[in-house]
């Protein structure tokens, strides 16, 4: 036998597909699959909302508190005042099936949440930032709006969708991509709900005080801080841009003929 020197052939073991084409196909394909699953799950949540009445919700979650909640003492001034304010505002929504409970979360980030069973959580950060009762009343009215539209259950459903995806995708990097894609899609739904909650909150504030002065002053202060941020953010955010929210609310007040100025109630603490 004779040895004949030959160069190995190229490309037998390596696919011709360009890595970026492979990446593109996978990302687009999997995003489509993830989106489809997310839509099916959202549809199922809507279906569940249709069958589970608010009364059932109150029965199920009436005493419920999130486990990771770091709350304040029950005799805390701000807790009592906020609870009283919520009770007053709730009188303008007489058909509400909820008995609203307020809890304060020990977090520096200004935020408020509507949770199942009529639980409203406001953060220390928010209470530090509000400068009048009217400002706080609008935030609370906004949360009542979430209860009215049952967004708090939908938000819970979104959380479930995301955790399902977490469970399915085991690899950290990959799970991240799919979950983020889903999250962004869901935030689109979320922004529309926020606008509706704003409308309800403003109506409640108007019924309570007879005017909407200072209702969105908190947002105006935030908007000034926000102005340095670029446009992509709106698309990614769970809430509409603060500037747009203010414009929407002003338009609503004008259409409804609500007074834009009036006596502002100071905070009780």
């Amino acid at each position: 036998m004779r040895f004949v020197a030959k160069q190995p052939k190229e490309g037998i073991n390596v696919s011709d597909t360009h890595p970026l084409v492979e990446a593109g196909t996978l990302v687009v394909g999997l995003t489509a699959i993830f989106a489809l699953i997310a839509l099916v799950l959202i549809f199922m949540i809507e279906l569940a909302l249709y069958f589970v009445s608010t009364e059932d919700e109150v029965n199920l979650f009436g005493d419920w508190l999130p486990e990771d909640l770091v709350t304040v003492a029950p005799d805390d001034d701000r807790l009592i005042e906020t609870q009283l304010l919520v009770d007053r505002l709730a009188q303008h929504w007489p058909e509400s099936p909820y008995t609203f409970r307020v809890e304060i979360d020990d977090s520096d980030v200004a935020n408020a949440m509507a949770l199942p069973g009529g639980l409203i959580i406001v953060t220390q950060g928010l209470l530090d930032q509000v400068e009048s009762e009217n400002e706080l009343a609008f935030v609370l009215g906004h949360e009542l709006g979430h209860f009215k539209n049952r967004d708090h259950i939908r938000a819970l459903g979104r959380g479930i969708v995301l955790s399902v995806f977490f469970a399915v995708a085991t690899d950290g990097d990959v799970a991240g991509i799919g979950i983020k894609a889903t999250d962004i899609t869901l935030r689109g739904f979320s922004r529309r709900q926020e606008t509706q909650a704003d409308e309800f909150g403003l109506a409640i504030v108007n019924s309570e005080y007879g005017h909407v002065d200072e209702a969105w002053r908190l947002f105006e202060r935030w908007d000034i801080d926000d102005s340095s941020i670029v446009g992509l953010v709106t698309y990614l955010s769970t809430h509409p841009e603060t500037g747009e929210r203010i414009i929407d609310m002003k338009r609503q007040a004008e259409t409804e003929g609500w007074l834009l100025t009036g006596n502002v109630t100071p905070l009780n603490w």
Partner: protein, 166 residues
Amino acid sequence: MDDNFANLELFLNFGLPLLILMVAYFIGDHIEKRHFRDIREREAKLHDFPVVSFDTMPDDWKVGRSDMVTGSIVISLDYFKRVIAGLRGLIGGRIKTYEPLLERARREALLRMTEEARSQGYDAIFNVRLETSRLANARRDGKGVAGVEMLAFGTAVKFASRFANS
């Protein structure tokens, strides 16, 4: 409600991995192309050196001395390849981004073995075998892959008189 906070969080969760992914792709691609160029050049230089996988020596090789030679390389995945392979892992199929990586490892290991044999004055290698092993990633409790080792080994021989029978 705190948009600034959300933006920062989004950048850290979404923008940064994407940026790292892109950087990893360009650097990884550059290194891979350069490696393949280098492999081709060195293979061209060694193309007349017999490297065969027979486990017994061909009858016409009259051998003076022999020894085992090895060549090994440890090669790592880049972030881009790992992410794309991870996506592929969800649905199955050929992990196309790993193929060139392992191709490089095989050819590099064979080259190192052959270069070693030639530098020691041998004329050919027979009974060539390839072995591979996974290096576990200590950072992920040994679950992840830090890289793979490709080991080529064979019996290098020095001919007493080359191709005596032919």
